[in-house]
């Protein structure tokens, strides 16, 4: 710290960095996003608690949309590739990312998975995140939109307790609504909670079991896709 007498003491210097700790992840996410955009693939990050019904929604989506559009999925889980297996059974090509102990997917994991997965010809790529209402919210994967599955059995105040997840969501799917008659849960209370944490609250009530609300969900997806689909691909799809 001596800078006067030339005795060779080291200097203490402040280095201004002002960089996001997730800058590396954000760069890879931007790279993924470019890939998806370039191929006209609508990528969605589907998040929610364990057991919220993420896989069931995708199975139901395959029933509603699978005959018209090419769907694919990357399913993240701590262990097993059961979700990917369920999706393949439902007719959705799917690959698993087994994270071991990581509580979320990051852009690099998705990027690596893309190398081994035929995603380029898809209309939709669903990334089913690890079941967790906290950590996945802060990792951009390169998706065009974030969807949070919230099951009505989780209670009315979840949006207030997990504001980070809902703040960044483009859509909330309120799942398992076929159970509403059996529960003391008010959907209006959930909507009110969302209005406090989500700047553009958007909620659809769905039931994978009865098919309720799936039409509106598919309409939402198709509207999003129309915005990113490449004219070339749309034209190729319409050709005889």
């Amino acid at each position: 710290m001596c800078d006067t007498c030339g005795c060779g003491d080291p200097k203490l210097v402040p280095v201004e960095v002002h960089e996001k700790l997730l800058a590396g992840n954000d760069r890879t996410a931007a790279h993924n996003r470019e890939h998806f955009k370039g191929r006209g693939v609508l990528a969605l990050n589907l998040m929610g608690s364990p057991g919220a019904g993420k896989t069931a929604i995708l199975e139901a989506t395959a029933r509603s949309l699978g005959s018209r559009r090419k769907l694919g999925a990357i399913a993240g889980d701590l262990e097993t590739d059961r979700d990917a297996e369920r999706l393949r059974t439902a007719g959705v090509p799917a690959t698993a990312i087994t994270t071991g102990s990581a509580c979320h997917l990051d852009a690099e994991m998705v990027h690596k998975a893309l190398h081994h997965f035929p995603w380029r010809e898809l209309d939709y790529l669903f990334v089913e995140n690890v079941g967790n209402l906290v950590c996945p919210a802060i990792y951009d994967l390169g998706q065009a939109a974030s969807v949070v599955a919230l099951s009505i059995t989780e209670g009315e105040d979840k949006p207030l307790k997990y504001p980070v997840m809902f703040r960044t969501a483009d859509l909330v799917l309120l799942t398992k609504v076929d159970l509403l008659p059996y529960l003391d849960v008010r959907v209006t209370a959930i909507e009110d909670a969302l209005a406090h944490v989500m700047p553009r609250p958007a909620l659809l009530r769905v039931s994978a079991r009865t098919g309720e609300g799936l039409g509106a969900w598919v309409d939402w997806l198709e509207a999003r896709r129309a915005a990113v689909a490449r004219p070339v691909k749309a034209a190729a799809g319409a050709a005889p």
């Binding site: 080291p10 402040p14 280095v15 960095v17 996001k20 979320h104 802060i138 700047p199």
Partner: protein, 113 residues
Amino acid sequence: MHEYSLVQALVDRVEREARARNATAVHRLSVRIGALAGVEGGLFRSAYELCREGTICSGAELLIEPVEARWACSRCGRALAAGEVLTCPECDAPARLLSGDEIMLDRIEMEVP
């Protein structure tokens, strides 16, 4: 516990900067963590205590500056208080987050020859 992977990214970043400047030691790190960043300060600190062992950060103090969430109307700019509905009562436009989602490394104080 994504705090561990964040701290790992922090230590990697500091080591890179220290190498580039031939630093011999790091004395202090300043980070900013927003209330809506999804990061728990206490966990971040415990993760740092574990991750810094054996790195150039082993003797470096960690300063965490918490940042409050601040919302304002995306159209008229009216500030919205914490806990309010995130739609402007004047013009019905959605609120915009002004600050509170940052996870930033601001400053590294290091010893250079």
